[in-house]
């Protein structure tokens, strides 16, 4: 029973391959159309993932600066801050090291810094947080706790920027999801049209097969296999093309200008590729089903 089913499947597969071979120009045209649709989807996903990662990096790399009053004891504040869960490091800068810090950060303004008396600069503590601990509520809480400490003059963290990033990320998520759904539907409709172009040419063949005693399964299963071969091949063409473009982009250092913004372009990871592969498989099944519906 199982071997007979395997034989049937092998036979259906052979028929599908034979069908592709016998209408090679039509099939190649369909493959190219489908490859284009999957390429657009993969390219969108690549851009989306990189934008999202960048925003997430911005969000997670939040730094808080605590300015201390004159003659305040920095050591006590540092010890207190280091005891807070979620704090990665807290570094104390005295008036003198404040000057060094400035000299390091704004090298081109040395002539101005030369005229500043380090004693007029505030001592401060720079706090870095663990990425996993950072959230809006967490930072607001820390802000309030540190602000109430004795000797603290001002606590600064870019609350507005953070707020904007969170809003932007939410916006990116929603728009991304809507666009992805749109591309998903588009890929099904493109696959449907491409497969329909191939199937419509089979009208005469289907009629002949019916007359000589072919069952619906005998006619339809090779069509589904043909559709799947088409979409899977198209998927591999599009992912290979995207990967080649990505490699060229990296090899010729076209991404060097992005380093200025601390942006590192990453390629899609296996689950993301698998998602688009799944969409390709679904497109093949749905496209064949819809375009062959009128014959059954």
């Amino acid at each position: 029973m199982i071997s007979q089913r395997v034989n049937y499947f092998i036979n259906y597969f052979k028929i599908a391959v034979l069908n592709i071979k016998s209408n090679i120009s039509g099939n190649v045209f369909a493959f190219l159309i489908m490859s284009f649709s999957f390429f657009i989807m993969l390219f969108f996903l690549l851009c989306y993932i990189n934008i999202y990662n960048y925003m997430e990096t911005l969000q997670k790399n939040n730094v808080m600066i605590v300015f201390l009053k004159n003659k305040a004891k920095g050591r006590t504040a540092v010890n207190f801050i280091n005891g807070i869960e979620g704090v990665k490091s807290a570094q104390y800068y005295s008036n003198k090291s404040s000057m060094k810090f400035l000299e390091k950060k704004v090298k081109n303004l040395k002539s101005i810094l030369k005229n500043i008396d380090p004693r007029n600069l505030p001592a401060f503590i720079k706090i870095n947080f663990k990425k996993s601990a950072v959230s809006n509520i967490f930072l607001s809480n820390i802000y309030l706790r540190i602000k109430s400490l004795k000797g603290v003059k001002l606590v600064y963290y870019n609350k507005m920027l953070r707020y904007k990033i969170v809003r932007f990320m939410f916006f990116t998520k929603v728009i991304g999801l809507v666009l992805f759904l749109f591309l998903f539907i588009l890929s099904i409709s493109i696959s449907y049209s491409a497969i329909k172009l191939v199937i419509l040419r089979k009208q005469n063949e289907i009629e002949i097969l019916r007359l000589i005693g072919a069952t619906n399964n005998y006619i339809r299963i090779p069509m589904f296999i043909e559709g799947e071969i088409g979409t899977i091949l198209s998927f591999f063409i599009s992912i290979s093309l995207l990967f080649a473009i990505y490699e060229i982009f990296i090899f010729y250092r076209f991404d060097s200008f992005l380093e200025f913004f601390h942006i590192k372009i990453i390629f899609l990871n296996p689950p993301q590729i698998a998602l688009v592969f799944l969409i390709a498989v679904i497109s093949g099944i749905a496209g064949t089903y819809l375009s062959s519906k009128k014959f059954f």
Binding site: N7, Y8, S22, G213, Y218
Partner: protein
């Protein structure tokens, strides 16, 4: 084996067949004749459940064909080989692949296909052209491929609708001889034609449906 009992067939209230009655016994060779539009093709189509009678009954091996469920129709068609006037071959498949289709649709695979298709192609004298495509063959050769495809399943009945309609007289005789040779081996044959010469060549029972 086959029974047409008070069969009427109309298209938009125009009757093509009126009270058609005949029976065909196993192993018989019969001609269905009548002028164009008399309903010869419709009569054959009823036997493969491609058309249903408006009234009356068509029986094959005791089963009323109009009662067949759609899923059973392919199995009926595997018992009945059909040869068409326009051959109905697949142009993108070779002679061998076209004939093999007759077996493949029945779920037969592998060496049996090679053996049976080779045998039938030898019988219709086309084995040497097994790898050629239909469009490179003459009309007579294409019709022999169609006959081979219809007979490769070893059907109980062979229906032929104007099988020599597009062929010259000499080629027609070859086709009739091939069909007769299979009839001599036990296949029931029903051949629809309006060609009197062909009927004379066949020397078999004639059913004139214009008289129905």
């Amino acid at each position: 084996m086959i029974e047409f009992s008070h069969v009427f067939k109309s298209y938009d209230k125009n009757y093509v067949l009126r009270d058609l009655n005949f029976t065909v016994n196993k192993g018989e060779f019969i001609f269905i004749t009548g002028p164009s539009g008399a309903g010869k093709t419709t009569t054959l189509k009823m036997l493969i459940a491609l058309e249903n009678p408006t009234h009356g009954a068509v029986k094959f091996l005791g089963t009323e064909l109009q009662d067949l469920k759609p899923r059973d129709i392919p199995f009926l068609r595997r018992k009945i080989g059909f040869v068409f006037q326009d051959f109905k071959l697949l142009p993108n498949r070779t002679v061998f692949q076209n004939v093999a289709l007759g077996l493949e649709v029945s779920g037969i695979f592998g060496n049996i296909i090679i053996k049976n298709v080779s045998e039938i192609l030898k019988a219709v004298e086309l084995y040497k052209k097994k790898d050629e495509f239909p469009l490179s063959l003459s009309g007579g050769e294409q019709q022999r491929v169609a006959i081979a495809r219809a007979l490769v399943q070893n059907p109980q009945v062979l229906l032929a609708d104007e099988p020599t309609g597009n062929l010259d007289e000499e080629t027609s005789k070859i086709i009739i001889d091939i069909i007769k040779s299979f009839n001599n081996k036990g296949t029931t044959v029903i051949l629809a034609t309006h060609n009197k010469n062909l009927i004379n060549m066949g020397r078999a029972r004639v059913i004139d449906i214009t008289k129905s």
